[in-house]
């Protein structure tokens, strides 16, 4: 072996995950005590992989995404764990260093395409600005790249579209522009936070199909946040189920859908009459998720769980492997008694 020790200890390029979150905690200090919004969350996304993140509203999906991007709003702060994007640790970077990583290494797509674009600049101007910021390309080269990007996200007549303002685009087309902008500097990771929720049902499938296509073509890793299991089933490779700031189950999509381990995931799946019927919320499980300041002891799901036993309110179950998935439930870890 000719490899030098340092090179040998490094993992091969292809295996470097686009995103590696380990043991992440996020807290919101407030006058009435500190709220733990994210508690010991870990997840990995390989290049070219889509990780679906599901859970009821308030489960901590968006906060996880914002923590990765370094865009948590004060007073929210990361209180534990580590985040690596493309092998580089990002949670310890200064705001100045983060500015260079954002866009170039990681990007974001948010929920509402109608408000995501600056209304006063043409689409072309916003694209060129982002491209030149990270590449130092000439104006002409950046313009060509902007054109190619619009083409790749399926916008017809891109040359004319570059000169138009956001208000001249429909919602679906605007979300395509947003995707083009997120991809402008060729990031390794994209956080897509409910990218289809605000769109017409007829357009949702087009956008998720586009994300899948871009993911396959460019090798970008995508964290697809949604509360729509149908979207996950069609688009994601793996899925991560969150409940009250923790990951309760994660694994390959087919396995989690057809053989869910955690009672909460089972409830989610039961709530979907057919995977092709989209459901808007997960409220079909009795009760609702606890508020952060009233989180039950032990497993946060136990007040709503049909299988809950004494152990469930006494201790928090760790996330352990069960076959090919991982689940955080005492049922698979020696019972709930």
């Amino acid at each position: 072996m000719m490899a030098q020790p340092i090179a040998a200890s490094k993992e091969p390029e292809a295996a470097t995950p686009a995103l590696d979150v380990s043991g992440l905690s996020v807290e919101f200090p407030s006058r009435r005590g500190t709220l733990l919004a994210i508690d010991d969350v870990s997840m990995q996304i390989a290049p070219g992989e889509i990780l679906g993140v599901v859970g009821e509203s308030g489960a901590g999906k968006s906060i996880t995404g914002l923590a990765v991007l370094g865009l948590l709003e004060s007073p929210g702060r990361i209180s534990g764990g580590a985040i690596h994007v493309g092998g580089r640790r990002v949670d310890t970077l200064s705001e100045k260093e983060l500015t260079k990583v954002r866009g170039r290494e990681m990007g974001a797509i948010f929920q509402d395409p109608l408000t995501a674009l600056n209304p006063l600049f043409t689409v072309g101007k916003q694209l060129v600005e982002t491209i030149r910021l990270h590449s130092g390309m000439s104006k002409e080269a950046a313009n060509d790249r902007a054109l190619a990007l619009l083409q790749s996200v399926g916008i017809p007549a891109p040359r004319e579209r570059l000169r138009q303002y956001p208000h001249q685009f429909s919602g679906g087309m605007r979300q395509r522009v947003v995707i083009a902008l997120a991809l402008a500097a060729g990031p390794r990771l994209i956080i897509a936070d409910e990218p289809t929720t605000a769109l017409d049902v007829s357009i949702q499938a087009q956008i998720t199909a586009l994300l899948r296509k871009l993911c396959d073509e460019t090798g970008v890793g995508i964290m697809l946040v949604t509360h729509d299991m149908g979207v996950i089933a069609e688009t994601a490779d793996r899925v991560c189920v969150m409940y009250s700031g923790r990951v309760v189950e994660s694994g390959p999509v087919a396995e989690v859908i057809h053989n869910p381990q955690h009672p909460y995931t089972k409830g989610l799946m039961a709530a979907i009459p057919s995977l092709h019927d989209r459901v808007e919320t997960l409220a079909q499980i009795d009760g609702s998720m606890p508020r952060l300041n009233a989180r039950p002891t032990g497993c946060a799901f136990h007040p709503r769980c049909p299988h809950a036993g004494p152990k469930c309110s006494a201790a928090t179950p760790p996330l352990v492997s069960v076959g090919v998935t991982r689940s955080a439930c005492w049922l698979q870890q020696g019972g709930t008694q």
Partner: protein
């Protein structure tokens, strides 16, 4: 677009009619102009003759219609006091007021906008807090107190600026300007500053509030997620989105400043329309008062229309909207 223009014009005409009506009512209510125009020895025949010539025996509405008709042609009659044409008198004073208001507006923008941005993006710093605090003083001090204070400090004590007057002016034929002579420029600083103080505070508070709102918006979050640096976020993306209300307010306030200039012009003996109006009030020179009212109203209405059109230039969304 045509419907929009027509609506806009109808609106403007209605406002102007209301103001001229008000001016006319004042005009007639203040007293019989014949008493003021003729001396005590005038015979009844002379009086009747003048009444006849002034049309004072016509019915009220006819008199009003004539007044509007003449006003529309710029004929506001002659001053009771020195028998000069009112419009000419006001026209001679207008450049002084206009330059004062213009400089005050520029000062308020040049100072107020950066202060608004700084207090918005550096919220927790001592200097942002200090600016916030000073601005409260700015809104609560009456304009004449500020003016007298400025005169006391910068003219009387320090002797840096003249305490009153407009300095030397240059006559351009259609306009007399004080901005082209050193003494004119020195003279305008204190009154303009005094007039702009309230305005600076308004601009600063408006920019601050708008900035805070815009900085919370989705497109700013998305721009940050693309790695756009803070300076560009603040000054390119956010500030530009705050400019609409600033333009609106600034333009609207020009009318307000012209009205406010009354006080400033009196304090600084600035030879503008405001001072003319105050002098007219002391002499009950009704034609000048009425003309001043109508002209200031016309400026307000015209500014409104200009603001509406400027909107379309700044905000591309409005260009297509009513086309």
């Amino acid at each position: 677009m045509l419907a929009f223009i027509i609506k806009r014009l109808a609106n403007a005409v209605f406002v102007m009619l209301s103001v001229t009506f008000l001016a006319f009512v004042i005009f007639t209510a203040v007293g019989d102009p014949v008493d003021q125009m003729l001396n005590e020895q005038a015979t009844q025949a002379q009086r009747d003759d003048l009444r006849e010539r002034l049309g004072l025996d016509d019915p009220f509405l006819v008199q009003y219609a004539k007044f509007v008709g003449r006003a529309a042609q710029g004929d506001f009659g002659i001053s009771f006091r020195n028998q000069q044409d009112v419009l000419t008198m006001i026209g001679e004073r207008f450049p002084a007021t206009f330059e004062l208001v213009l400089v005050a507006t520029l000062i308020s923008l040049v100072v107020g906008v950066p202060m608004g941005v700084i207090t918005a993006i550096r919220r927790q710093t001592w200097y942002a807090e200090a600016m916030q605090f000073t601005s409260i003083i700015g809104v609560s001090l009456p304009s004449f107190v500020v003016g007298i204070g400025l005169i006391l400090v910068f003219s009387v004590w320090l002797g840096w600026f003249p305490a009153f007057g407009r300095g030397e002016t240059v006559d351009l034929g259609w306009w007399t300007t004080g901005l082209l002579t050193p003494s004119g420029r020195m003279s305008i600083i204190l009154p303009a500053l005094s007039l702009s103080l309230f305005q600076i505070t308004l601009v600063m508070r408006l920019v601050r509030a708008e900035m805070l709102e815009v900085l919370r918006s989705d497109f700013i979050k998305f721009a940050r997620s693309r790695g756009i640096p803070a300076r560009s976020i603040h000054f390119r993306h956010a500030l530009r989105n705050c400019l609409m209300p600033v333009v609106t307010m600034t333009a609207m306030q020009i009318g307000g400043l012209i009205a406010f200039a009354l006080v400033t012009e009196t304090v600084f003996q600035w030879p503008g329309m405001g001072l003319l109006f105050i002098q007219a009030v002391t002499f009950v020179d009704v034609p000048i008062m009425a003309a001043y009212l109508c002209i200031v109203a016309l400026i307000f209405v015209a500014l409104n229309a200009i603001v509406d059109m400027t909107y379309a230039v700044i905000d591309p969304r409005l260009k297509g909207a009513d086309a």
